[in-house]
Symmetry: C2
């Protein structure tokens, strides 16, 4: 398995709108086992995203999906910065679920 | 929802054994929606844990479960340090699944 944990900052006042874009259309990502978007309660602009994929190739392939490309294009102007980006090797757990 | 993203370091050489303990018995945690344990590919001792719960109360209650208390007791001597600990407010995503 392959995973990512990242933290980004939305442009001021745009966090909830950005989260809505990040959550749109994520059910149709082949190989995605978990994809969770969260607010940071200590920072009004910060968003955490944690992802698990069956392989790094599936993650790479997802970036070429029309729905994902469209979401990235919409999201980009609303992102102020990328603060953390960690690749991880998920071993197991609860909530790892095949997407469509 | 309530969540945690944390990074800990295992005592040298004990990461895989610690991960096995962290993954044991996690299916029986009421209110747990996601619980994923991962290796850090850049640090041979580091472990990432990301958790989503239906509420902070469910997370607190899990710490009193006999299975969890036993796992914490076994794990503690194998943990060298806690490096990161972030509370998060999950909004949605894929892979949020009710445990037993």
């Amino acid at each position: 398995m392959y995973g990512l944990i990242g933290k980004m900052k939305a442009a001021a006042g745009q966090r909830d709108a950005l989260i809505a874009i990040l959550l749109d259309g994520i059910d149709a990502m082949p190989g995605c086992l978990s994809y969770i978007v969260a607010r940071d309660p200590k920072d009004a602009d910060a968003i955490w995203i944690s992802e698990v994929w069956d392989s790094q190739d599936s993650h790479r392939a997802s970036l070429a999906l029309p729905s994902v490309k469209s979401a990235i294009a919409k999201a980009r102007p609303m992102i102020a910065s990328f603060d953390e980006h960690h690749e991880i090797e998920p071993i197991g757990g609860h909530g790892l679920t095949k997407a469509r």
